[in-house]
Symmetry: none
Subunit: 217 residues, 4 copies
DNA sequence: TATGAATGAGTTTTCATTCAT
DNA sequence: GATGAATGAAAACTCATTCAT
């Protein structure tokens, strides 16, 4: 799976150059989370074990680096969705596993730090379309199947699931690890069960709505 | 209400100095949201219409400014809780109004931008204890009353409500305004209804747990 | 005269700030000539005796500094033309003095170092229009009067004089000081005398043509 | 002629290496003129279509590249002088053709960009002696013959012609193409005619003086 | 008290140069 | 020989902070 992921990233680099590129992205991800997205790029280079010039050769500015990290994050999200779908016995449990797993990705921690304009620019970048579509497809499959199984309430669409996913993704770091989150997730899942509570306002959110709201990015 | 809020802030300034202070906080809040918490303080001063020297006289460093903005945010949160409690006919509807209202405060947008260490330091600052206690008290009251009314499931505590509140607070800006949020909130509220779904894992979260997780900060 | 020159430069600065600005321009002019237009701006600041930040506050980039130096150069050129016109007994001698004096300004040494695009941008800047017009006016007066006196050949216009001026301005530094230049200038002046040699090709160049060719810039 | 020129450059390279060397010099000449002599060598290599390593193999530093370009320039100058001398019917017309042709070489555009120290170093380099001597010889021949013919005033020497040549060479790019230059050249030629105007100050400049002043370099 | 000019440390960024492939 | 990846020194540039006016 990891291999498949990597194959979608820029290729055609000499083996050593490729390895350096990956080291840089890993270091950047770590430091962005630890110290904020304004860490000196010097420090990123140092942690990656390369010269600052090498970093700049691959990533002409901070934004390019953020984009690369975001792309990797999205790969993880797609992995999570596809694995859940594949490994769980039924669609409802796949949905549960997916939502619970989103928290651990800590994706929002990064997105939330971006200023709105940059955030928008990153989202608009076309590098992410394909991979984002994979997430969408998986969510769509799980939602429809769970409804056919009578496990998921009928008046929600895949877009609604994506919204809940986003909420999990953006959970602040200090809560993300704790046991309290598990309870909150269960409250949501209870609210999603078929035959529960009052009808929701408006229309079920479709995959297209979802496309507008999916996180990071 | 606004007046009451202001009285809790530093006082004893000459009227014009006081006005300058407020202009600065407002400008800072706007710019932190627009451009990130790293906006040049020069720019904050310019937007506030004061000299950079004046800004420094009131706020010895960026952290002091962040603290002031956070404090104001927390005042808004307390306002929201107390007003809901006072104006709604019953506790369940007060809870609903409170959760729905959290989104509009856009509080998390700022907190989420802080690096973990700074975030921790701000939370620990003692300026916020009193006002945070007000939020806690209101939540506690609403929760217990709603359970007594048989409207809220019995296995949740005020801490659980606070978690849901936090989720709403941290909702990313691009989603915060949309109609999709309303649906997500309703899903959660459905999950909170008495007699719904499966029991939650672990113990109901108390006000003390809540204290650890409340946002902004 | 120097005073008049200064009054045309940006004003409204505190006295000390104004003095610093001037020190920077002087230092820049010296170093651009000594070391090329790529001298580290650090060095300019050091020679001016100010911090690098001060330099950047007044001149947001190297181009702004070049523009300021160029403006000063042009002031010197106008001074030269006007002084010659005022102090010489007749227009022909004023022209001679003007042409001979151009060499000493060393103006071209700077312009010639600019890459074409930058050069064009500087020329286009509107800061220089007024002062350039002064040069044009003086040249026009001298030319017409010298022709009325029967000293200057009739088939040249002020634009032709400006061309010769430009040639002198762009004389390379290693020749500019030497005695050889004097001889070359005299050859030109001989060629300008009334009744000499063959007619020139094309039309006499007017002040408008001149406007297109005047140097530095 | 072009072939003869090339034969004087370093030889003994494999055919492909030789071709690469020439591509680099051509690219360098273009970019030096377009962007200034500080253009990144990376860019020179790219325009030449070779790797940066290849460039460095041939030219150990920027100065070597400048020297090569200058050398080529000087070859063109010698070509111009020798061709004029050979093809024109008499020495006066050869001189005229030579002076008029200098403008098109755009040689000064490069020299003028050098800082004084580098300029001096390049001039001093011994690579250029032989080729510069060719220019000198041609000028000397034309001057003496034109004076013998009674066409050129007697009180100028070949050094004076060289000075006028230099003036033409250093003409700024924005003027070099225009029709105005032709008029200026004619003014000079008129000033050079036998029997014209007043005597020149000082002594006629010899070939030795000329050696000191000839451009590029 | 308010102002904004000055400062320089800290970052970003570029590019000449080396060297493994 | 050719290539282009890596390097890091040097230059550009920003901005928090101080302090004279």
């Amino acid at each position: 799976m990891a291999k498949a992921t990597n194959q979608q990233e820029p290729t055609g680099l000499r083996a050593d150059a490729r390895r350096n590129r990956d080291l840089i992205v890993v270091a950047a991800r770590e430091l962005f989370l630890e110290q904020g997205i304004d860490v000196p790029l010097d420090e990123v280079a140092r942690r990656a074990g390369v010269g600052i010039g090498t970093l700049y050769r691959r990533f002409p500015d901070r934004e390019a680096l953020l984009r690369a990290v975001g792309e990797e994050n999205l790969h993880h999200l797609a992995d999570l969705a596809q694995t859940a779908q594949r490994e769980e016995p039924d669609a409802w449990h796949a949905l549960c596993r997916f939502l619970r797993g989103c928290v651990k990705l800590r994706m929002g921690e990064l997105s939330a730090k971006l200023d709105p304009h940059l955030h928008q620019r990153l989202r608009a970048g076309h590098d992410l379309h394909e991979i984002r579509q994979q997430v969408i497809d998986a969510l769509l499959g799980m939602t429809e199947q769970a409804q056919a199984d009578g496990a998921l309430r009928g008046d929600v669409g895949p877009g609604d699931i994506a919204m809940l996913m986003t909420l999990h993704i953006y959970l602040p770091a200090n809560m993300a690890g704790g046991p309290a989150v598990a309870r909150v997730t269960e409250i949501m899942l209870n609210g999603l069960r078929a035959g529960v509570g009052s009808p929701l306002p408006g229309e079920a959110l479709t995959g297209d709505d979802l496309r507008r709201y999916t996180a990071m990015e």
